[in-house]
Symmetry: C2
Subunit: 423 residues, 2 copies
């Protein structure tokens, strides 16, 4: 399938130091020499090796794409070309979201590896939410991030020729797009072999959803949008596991699923995973903490995320409407400005609808599909886990079935607690 | 801008025979030898040279892309790479619409030329409509054509990977897409230098439309869809001048504007040009023929076109739902089939809305923009021409402003005669 090239070898803790030793800027960043460096492999994702290297003067993170799906092993081959698309994504959005992604020190196309800033003391946002920690800036930062990354890669900001070059490039990211199509929009909705769910507790809920033709039509509708609406360059997998946070800093990582698609898909990934986090909190009650305050905070972040995205996207549009879509030359008068403002609001409403629909699809796939999330998987009691999952599914189904009930983000915030696990 | 390569030279009637002489299959198709061949240049489009070559045993048509816009001269350069995209389009759709495109005998990438079947006794449909002739099969054939070409290049028919390869390829057709963006969706709506209209008769109408913020927002909405909705491989310029007809045969030509876009754009091109033909008939009355019967026939063809497209597209979808969008595996039960049928009808409704919107944009650009159509331009009395144009503009404005009034094609057929020129 993929020609791995002669320079490709799967790295281990022994082969990392000599590789770095040959890279002057990275070596001097670590300080000392090969013998002084401490290397450990920390990858916990599905697709990559991740090494952290500490030297006397600094640290780096090295990520290598494996030629197979890590969680499945060599029996599920996967082109390591995705490192190329990850790198291309970071390069495309860096001018607009510079402080919200890691600094890239080195990219090696032949070895499918990237050496980047080691983020410290950052942890994965998903882990923080599970632990009951709050990151006061994260939702705002990600709302800002999606607005910037998507606005500036859309036809609103630049002549369309630039976007078409990107569309052609990222059209090559087919193996990763195939994963999204199959695992998000198709397999959860029938008895596909890779699916799994908490059984037998969720058997009935899974069966009910798979017989609900209306829900399936809605999921297929969003699957169609995913494949046809090339609005902007997307991260493609922007859940809480692709965000690293500290008390004061937020960074987006792992954009290997990048492609040109509907903006609501990135919005929905973050939105849907916040909702999953909310429902999972019921499975994490302790005698001293029923997690109600944490839940309330998470639900606030849903609103902060959307409101920040919306305000930032509209602000960018107002100050940088230099693309081919809604071109400035056509809207020069005061009457035009009023109509244009209404059109912009209407466009934001379509992004809101898309966020909810894609978010619901993301929630469902994490409960009935192949790849689950630690927020729920980490709940050891299967009855408690199933209760949280059942409530999440009910909320997701409502978002898909009744979009007319959700006109504003406040409607979502009010609806979420109506589906409470019985814990 | 474009590297023309060493083999490129602009052909003339003297250089065509030696070129053909070197192509065995084409030479034997013509019969005889170089001295027996009769060559004439007949191109009347904006972008190409077209030679017809007659030999003792057969004829061929040779089309060469010029490195500039023919109507403007070398001062408006234009990449002849478009011949490449025309050829790629024909190859992509040939398996599905074989009998409705010309047979391609030879493609020469270096010289940017295509040698194809000479269609005889065909004439351009637009010319036939102007002359008051009827082609009983044309609208049905084009409805069938758009359904087949678009269905089979969409994600409904094949795994998305095939479409993404096409998307990447046709993303290179930027110079032609730029023409469409500027001339259809942008320039007609403000005082752009290339615009022209029947003046002073239409000055007020042009000014009114350019101050109508609501119409401009709607036009910009369709411009946005044009650039973001990659539903299928489009011809990109499917007006009545891109269709050749005889009494019994219909062929689609000139797909150099091909790209992946919204299906309604191809539908709207044919639809909008039928409406322009209808309105132009008022300027072609003669003492013996007020053209009312011809108008009635044209309006019938609008309905035939849409009904044929819709029925064919749905039939193909029912029998060949093997793509990633609305995948068969998700919709296996009887209840699924009912919901799926409703979803398909809803999708056809969105294509109908798009046809009307894009059609209206196409009508407006032919009256207020740079490139006009002979149906109207050929009306010599400027007052009569302006009357036809004003009625066309009024209909187009209504289609854009009040999509809620047009739910079925019959609504269009009833509305068209309400805007009658005062002739």
């Amino acid at each position: 399938m993929t020609n791995l090239g002669t320079s490709y070898q799967i790295l281990d803790t022994a082969s990392v130091p000599p590789l770095i030793d040959a890279l002057d800027p990275v070596r001097s960043l670590l300080g000392g020499s090969r013998a002084d460096w401490h290397v450990r492999e920390v990858g916990d994702g599905n697709l990559n090796l991740v090494f952290l290297v500490d030297g006397p003067e600094g640290s780096i993170c090295l990520k290598q794409a494996l030629p197979y799906v890590r969680v499945a092993g060599p029996g599920w081959p996967m082109s390591p070309e995705r490192a190329h698309f990850e790198n291309a994504y970071f390069r495309s959005v860096a001018p607009y979201v510079g402080g919200l992604i890691p600094m890239i020190h080195h990219y090696d196309a032949g070895r499918h590896l990237t050496i980047m800033e080691r983020l410290s003391p950052h942890i994965i946002l998903r882990q923080g939410l599970i632990a009951g920690r709050r990151y006061p800036h994260a939702a705002r930062a990600i709302g800002d991030y999606v607005a910037r990354a998507c606005f500036y890669t859309s036809d609103l900001a630049w002549p369309f020729e630039r976007k078409l070059d990107g569309v052609a490039l990222f059209a090559g990211n087919k193996p990763l797009i195939r994963i999204s199509v199959d695992l998000i929009f198709t397999e959860p909705y029938f008895g596909a072999a890779r699916n799994r769910h908490t059984s037998p507790q969720l058997d009935q809920a899974a069966s009910d959803l798979r017989r609900d033709a209306q829900i399936k039509v809605r999921a297929a509708h969003f699957g169609r949008k995913f494949l046809t609406e090339a609005q902007a360059l997307l991260h493609g997998d922007l859940h809480s596991g692709s965000v690293m946070v500290s008390e004061t800093d937020t960074r987006v990582i792992d954009p290997e699923f990048a492609f040109y698609g509907p903006i609501g898909f990135d919005l929905g990934a973050f939105f849907g995973n916040l909702l999953l986090s909310w429902y999972s909190q019921f499975g994490r009650k302790t005698p001293g903490d029923d997690r109600s305050a944490h839940r309330a905070w998470i639900l606030e972040q849903v609103t902060v995320f959307w409101d920040t995205f919306r305000a930032r996207f509209l602000a960018l549009w107002a100050e940088h409407a230099t693309g081919d879509v809604f071109p400035g030359a056509m809207f020069a008068s005061t009457a035009d400005a009023i109509a244009l403002a209404a059109a912009r609001n209407a466009f934001m409403d379509t992004l809101f609808e898309d966020m909810l629909g894609f978010g619901a699809c993301k929630m469902i796939r994490r409960i009935l599909g192949f790849a689950h999330v630690l927020d729920l998987e980490g709940i050891e009691d299967p009855n408690a886990r199933a209760d949280c999952e059942r409530a999440s599914l009910a909320m997701a189904a409502t978002l898909l079935r009744h979009p007319e009930h959700f006109k504003r983000i406040e409607d979502v915030a009010q609806a979420v607690p109506r589906f409470q696990p019985r814990l």
